[in-house]
Symmetry: C2
Amino acid sequence: MQNANINFSASPITNKKYALPTKLNDKQNLDLFIEENAQKKIVVVQGLGFVGAVMSIVCANSFKDEYAVIGVDLPNKENFWKIKSLNDGIFPLSVEDKKIDLFFENSIKKGNFYATYDPYAYSLADTIIVDINLDVQKNVKDDNLLESFDLDLTSFKSAISSIGENCKEDVLVLVETTVPPGTCSKVVAPILKTKLNDRGLNDSRVKIGHSYERVMPGPDYIDSIQNFYRVFSGVDKKSIIATEKFLKTIINTDQYPLTMLNGTNATEMAKVLENSYRSMNIAFIVEWSRFAEESGVNLYEVVEAIKMRPTHSNMMFPGIGVGGYCLTKDPLMASWSRKNIFRSEPLAQSEVSVKINDQMPKFAFEFFTSRYKESLDDKKVLFLGVSYRGNVGDTRSTPVSLIYDLFLSNGANIYLNDPLVPFWEEKNIKVETSIDSSLSKKIDVIVISTGHTLYKSKRFIENLMKKPELVIFDTIGMLSKNQIKLIETKHKIFVLGRGDLK
Amino acid sequence: MQNANINFSASPITNKKYALPTKLNDKQNLDLFIEENAQKKIVVVQGLGFVGAVMSIVCANSFKDEYAVIGVDLPNKENFWKIKSLNDGIFPLSVEDKKIDLFFENSIKKGNFYATYDPYAYSLADTIIVDINLDVQKNVKDDNLLESFDLDLTSFKSAISSIGENCKEDVLVLVETTVPPGTCSKVVAPILKTKLNDRGLNDSRVKIGHSYERVMPGPDYIDSIQNFYRVFSGVDKKSIIATEKFLKTIINTDQYPLTMLNGTNATEMAKVLENSYRSMNIAFIVEWSRFAEESGVNLYEVVEAIKMRPTHSNMMFPGIGVGGYCLTKDPLMASWSRKNIFRSEPLAQSEVSVKINDQMPKFAFEFFTSRYKESLDDKKVLFLGVSYRGNVGDTRSTPVSLIYDLFLSNGANIYLNDPLVPFWEEKNIKVETSIDSSLSKKIDVIVISTGHTLYKSKRFIENLMKKPELVIFDTIGMLSKNQIKLIETKHKIFVLGRGDLK
């Protein structure tokens, strides 16, 4: 375990350690950067995580090249390495999108991007984009059963305060963070106005917009920002106008027209509704998966037949569970808002959907043991994939975590494979990235847990067929009908949601 | 109230009364019909309701004209009029689809359709299509709150027995009725085999298929059978082959290819899953409607913005509730099957969705009273539409029923308008079909409750604007943005799911 009095911040990408700054002043560098970009408007991006880092370079590569961009994050153990890494020319995410390399190199060449921890940056900005995280705190019992949850706005409020203490009085603050509906009008606006007032400035000129991102880590990372539909609004008319004008400079709005809603409550609601819908659709199919397993039905085949109808095209297939940063918390955030900001009932269905989805890996494990019947004690189990999504190296809230724990606590010896995740941060474990190496070991059970394209390849299936008889558990319906037919000739196979395979 | 010892059956279409038959034998007519159609294969359709009546004439107009069709229903008060009406040349449904008239006239001309009550018909059949109703019995508390439910298979089993007691040993019995998953293999097959055995016949030649209909009453009634995708299966291989062969003769499978599933459990599950999905999607948006109303958000605008994403295109808009025969019961039927046929857990989410949807008209009423504030005592309230669906004259399980009751019990004087429903059977009330006549009355409140095209016409809005100031409650988001802008200049308007209109 690491030392609590740690005074450095380490990059999980390069493993390089950066000493935390002792003197929190970066004014000289910032002034120099501004001088070098004297003709440019200044965009500051607050938060350099999965959204902010990419948003920064999208802004630094705006269509008319009118921006110099400053990325801001906190000088602490978790975040300082991102600042240093960016200024060292190393992008702080391990990504599969070639456009990111291109955009990042371009911005280095042009010299219109700089990262800092100094809130002085906000004083220079014409536009400030808020891309910080806002988490939901879940209290769970055994096997990830959600008992209660809360949302703590403290650090979000302090980030907004930091802007208000430094910004120009007519700045545009564009919130992209997923927030509880009501936040821009009832939290952000009052803080900014109070801070401007405290500084003796006019509090009626600040513009506050909200436009949620639909960022999808993976091979189309940049396109999920630049070439995708956006919904936006602002707390008043001038904010709406300023937000629209700004978005048009970085998003391909000719092909993906913007949708304006009539207030920030509406755009904030749109984001959490969008994700609650998806969460509910996933949760919906869970009990049908069990029903299909019990009644000898192949649920994949049934869902495919139904999805043929356009009115039913969003129906989901069975699966191991839900991961990532958004779907696992946004429905709860919506419910929190309704209770705590609008003093009404919870959103019961949204809460239930998260509760069900959180338990999905447990249901998958139970299905496995009901079929496998043998003891797992000392069995060698290979997991294919720890990321929460195919072709993405992202383990945030991955459902593989819980099913891994369950195999482990039942005595299995576990091998992990993931071509995109060399190190599983949340579990602090190394992961094998070579599939050949993983398959060369003696294995009793293979759990297919992430739909990486590599696992679907012909070569992989051929190698699988060379192994001595084993059990394969497909938790995501990855294998095709023909692959299953082939595998069945040698191995035993269980597929979640398929009651027709004996 | 009507006499319980009634000995006639009355047509709600023509009001004609038919004396119930005293001697239950129609052999002579049936034999004559067979003789006249000596070259044809015989299809018997069991049940002459919303599906069976139309299915009968679709079969009588098969692509190669190879069938003579006998429709069978029971000689009781509820159904006997359908038999007589059909044989009198009057179609037993009030329909908006011109194709129905055409198909029915054709079959009369050709003389290849006959209706009867005599189970002797089953003995003549090459194919028997089961289109009888199977209902769920709901136990509800005040305001339609679902407390429990049950499903009674007695009459379904007796209908299948009636087939088994008469049919040829190699008949194809094609079940189209929505049944609990497991019914064909665990109920229909054992009954037919036992009955064949009892008659000293070979019990291994009977073929049992299942292919659920997706019939949609309305202007495309026939097309919803003939030009639409179908899922099918059978209890064994010969049943699957026979079912496919038959369906190809009546459905345009070149354009709408059939989907074969690997057993009747799967097709039965597909139907109830399909409707449970829709029910859940409707229920999902209910609490968001309340949330939008509380937070000043126009939920229509938000949902529109989100539906732009193909992954979210099935999201529903706010509404008054769910009606019709399928969505209000199928999710419960699924859950009943899982509990009673497969001895497992209930489908909790499916049950919840029905419970929520059943209460939607109550929520709509509560929203109204929270805005209206005045007493409804002696207020004149005009309902536009009693049908459960726009452009359809069908009041089965219409959500208008509950909101009507709530206005009534709060003292309102109610006028009903529906161009397609001259008489509201379930409530035993006459309904005004002329909108001009309805609008000529003194009115305090208009409730827009069904989306008939007529109510969307320019002329209707113009007439509305000539009325003295009143309150309009749009429960289905029927009015366009521009219509609302216009109406707001004179009348007060409330729209369900819109918190932005004050």
